[in-house]
Symmetry: D2
Subunit: 96 residues, 4 copies
């Protein structure tokens, strides 16, 4: 993962952590359920966006990077398959 | 929301906050993307579970509680409709 | 479920069925993956919308209707709990 | 998309089309909402699985295939970026 993506993702995760703290406060203050639920939807969307960022960064650096131009042995073709199966698993967990 | 549900939800939210902190650490330590993504899926599932808990608690206390047995005027029938529309909006945001 | 909601849901389901047929055609014609994926997202959103409609209709007729005003025995209080647990299960399956 | 994946995806889509038809019948027969909702969840999961299959197939043939070993000009690096942005958009629509 390149440094800039890394920083950006950390910033987002810190914000998400703060939002989760905010939701706790809302629960403690017995705020209206529907408002709390909307905040939860927001955090969920933010988490999904981080997931998509990470996944595309992964495809960029590990999957594309992996297949580019060096002289591969059969072993590495196998590994492309492995990387794709791994992505499939990740996506299935996400869309579960 | 009754006190026990409230406590349980706070406990879960604190755990989620901790998990988000853990994901930040993973990003800082440049851990393997796929492991980070799996952690994100986990937090997302935990958040969804909190959402479902809150929503059913809302239906129990506000929606069922609301409609039970007193002599209603038309105004309150209207409010049932409002509560349902609100739930529809919440669900649509969740499933967005 | 009241008749109007019923009709509306049937219309939507027929449209969804047609869209799934359309996606098959796209696959047969070897259309660009990304276009096919966008169609799948569309159908998924349409299905979710039907789900939300059905669920709110269920809450309206079974859950609110159920709790309203007759002289309940303890057994029926139990049944409110059952209905809520059922909704919880449904939501968890949906958000899985 | 290779022929085998293609066939497999068509088979799944036909099954999904049949399931949507089955849900219509359930609605017409006024079956219990919760049973209908569970069927909708099932179809949704099946659609997601098709989406994941298509997306990994796309990554395999278009993204990895694209970047492999030929002497690229800057223009093609640009195109890798385009492919990744496209995947990001697709994923965001899916997780919307």
């Amino acid at each position: 993962m390149d440094t800039q993506v890394n920083k950006q993702i950390l910033t987002r995760l810190r914000r998400i952590e703060g939002q989760v703290g905010g939701i706790q406060k809302m629960v403690e203050e017995q705020r209206y359920c529907v408002d709390i639920l909307n905040q939860i939807s927001s955090v969920r969307a933010a988490l999904d966006a981080v997931g998509v960022e990470l996944l595309t960064s992964h495809i960029k650096t590990c999957v594309i990077g992996h297949g580019s131009g060096q002289d591969h042995s059969d072993a590495s073709v196998q590994t492309d398959e492995d990387l794709l199966n791994e992505i499939k698993l990740v996506l299935n967990r996400f869309l579960k």
